[in-house]
């Protein structure tokens, strides 16, 4: 698992963070995100403390900062929004480098930027230290509805199958001289998407049949349930507890 294909988020490793059970990490990450979101936006030092906690986790997990940065690019559109806010928000204004900026907008932009970034970093850290299948098993263990985890499990598996099917269909079009350059030539491609949908739907029916044949009754079996000791929970939740403390201190 891990390297390549659909699982590029995961960063293979064997650190104490990697070895923690997935459901414990999911709870810890969720608590940390809540703590970050609950931190008042003016309590600037608290965000620094949150970041320090994360850096500590990265060092323990031995994951390179460059890899984290590359996976955090998903946040870019939100950054753009945050940067625009100070220009367009209303209320009292302040001067900076000759630009007139809204104070409220500045704070709102900062709020989105810092909380969004920390949230993405926490999620990326979770994703990098936990393989997708463990994440799904962890969610199931946390009693997330079976339908949700089943859909996610099948999606992880079949995205590649459907992508491969789409590639074969494209090749079949190209091989017969289809070379779309203008918008009005896109017809066959669009019809291809429709065909792909139908084929995926039919495959879904066949997969369901194959699942029934092996005793599927509507819920995925929990495979390899490990028992998690209090110690493991305590270790994993320590950074989250610290984040909650910091957030509380931010209100003081």
């Amino acid at each position: 698992m891990g390297a390549g294909h659909a699982h590029t988020l995961h960063h293979v490793g064997d650190s104490p963070v990697h070895r923690l059970p997935a459901h414990v990490k999911i709870v810890a990450a969720f608590l940390m995100v809540i703590a970050v979101v609950a931190t008042p936006r003016e309590a600037f030092w608290v965000f620094g403390a949150h970041l320090a906690l994360l850096v500590g986790i990265w060092v323990t997990a031995r994951i390179p900062v460059a890899a984290i940065a590359a996976r955090s690019l998903i946040e870019a559109p939100f950054v753009a929004l945050a940067v625009l806010l100070p220009f367009f928000a209303t209320g009292p204004r302040t001067e900076f480098l000759g630009l007139s900026l809204s104070v409220d907008g500045l704070l709102a932009g900062w709020n989105i930027l810092v909380k969004g970034t920390l949230g993405v970093l926490i999620s990326v850290t979770l994703g990098m230290t936990t393989p997708v299948r463990d994440l799904l098993a962890g969610l199931a263990r946390l009693r997330v509805p079976g339908m949700v985890t089943t859909i996610a499990t099948l999606m992880v598996r079949y995205l590649e199958v459907i992508a491969a099917e789409a590639r074969r269909m494209r090749l079949a079009r190209v091989a017969r001289g289809h070379d779309p350059r203008f918008l009005w030539q896109i017809g066959p491609t669009v019809r291809g998407v429709g065909t792909l949908f139908l084929r995926s739907y039919e495959r879904g029916e066949r997969v369901h049949l194959a699942m029934l044949a092996r005793g599927y009754t509507g819920s995925m079996p929990l495979l390899g349930v490990p028992t998690t000791g209090r110690r493991t929970w305590a270790v994993a939740l320590a950074p989250a507890a610290a984040a909650v403390l910091f957030a509380t201190a931010g209100y003081a």
Partner: protein, 242 residues
């Protein structure tokens, strides 16, 4: 001895009215390997889906190891009938090979440490013991077919049902699969158009056409009758003779 499979007077019509089976009788003893032959649309797949209770018989009965296919014990029937579907991508839906092989037995109530043992044995039986942690996506066609077989073997079925096991396999993978199947020593019903494969693996063949059994006998005898084969849209590949 109780036969592995007993089908008596099985008839079935699809909801749209199309009648697919008109009274099929079939008896397979324990340890037998039987090929189910017939042209496209003869009712082979419909028959297979009756064996594990996906379709319910319109008339007649199906018994697996003496147990009648009926709603109260559908789960036990599905454990007893191991269907290996034609496209391994339909059968292998879990993120890793090991998880997929564990799916069946886990549904049938097998728990650790027995579960891991079953997975290991099933993958070992098909020569895929090294690949438990891989994604099915990264396996070759032949490997996927063998893993699909392992997912069913892990349930310890009474009868293996294989739908077109040799389709889309290169000659080496086809031979390797045959060797695995011959080494399993299990009751087997193999749906196929690949007549040489039927001859290699199954001493007995049943030919079904237009919803009824039209022949049941030694594979070699059936394949040696060109007029009979032609009457049911079957023929040996170019250059073959029995």
């Amino acid at each position: 001895m109780t036969p592995s499979l007993e089908v008596e007077g099985l008839a079935f019509a699809y909801p749209d009215g199309h009648q697919a089976l008109f009274g099929v009788d079939l008896r397979i003893e324990q340890g037998e390997r039987v090929a189910l032959l017939g042209p496209n649309g003869a009712g082979k797949t419909t028959l297979v889906l009756h064996l594990n209770g996906v379709h319910r018989a319109g008339a007649g009965t199906v018994r697996v190891g003496g147990l009648e296919v009926a709603k109260p014990h559908l789960q036990e029937i599905r454990r007893r009938v191991g269907v290996v579907f034609q496209d391994p991508d339909d059968q292998l839906f879990m993120p890793t090979v090991g998880d997929d092989v564990a799916f069946g037995p886990a549904n049938f109530g097998v728990t650790e440490p027995e579960l891991s043992l079953r997975v290991k044995q099933a993958l070992g039986a098909v020569g895929m013991g090294e690949h438990a942690d891989r994604s099915p996506m990264h396996l070759s066609g032949g490997q996927r077919r063998r893993v699909a077989l392992a997912t069913v073997l892990a349930c310890d079925p009474e009868i293996l049902v294989l739908d077109e096991p040799s389709s889309n396999l290169d000659p080496v993978a086809r031979r390797e699969l045959a060797e695995v199947l011959l080494g399993l020593d299990r009751t087997m019903l193999m749906v196929t158009h690949d007549l040489p494969y039927a001859l290699q693996l199954c001493p007995r063949s049943v030919v079904i056409d237009e919803g009824v059994v039209v022949a049941d006998g030694p594979t070699r005898d059936l394949l040696a009758d060109p007029a009979f084969l032609a009457a049911h849209r079957l023929e040996l590949p170019f250059g073959f003779s029995v």
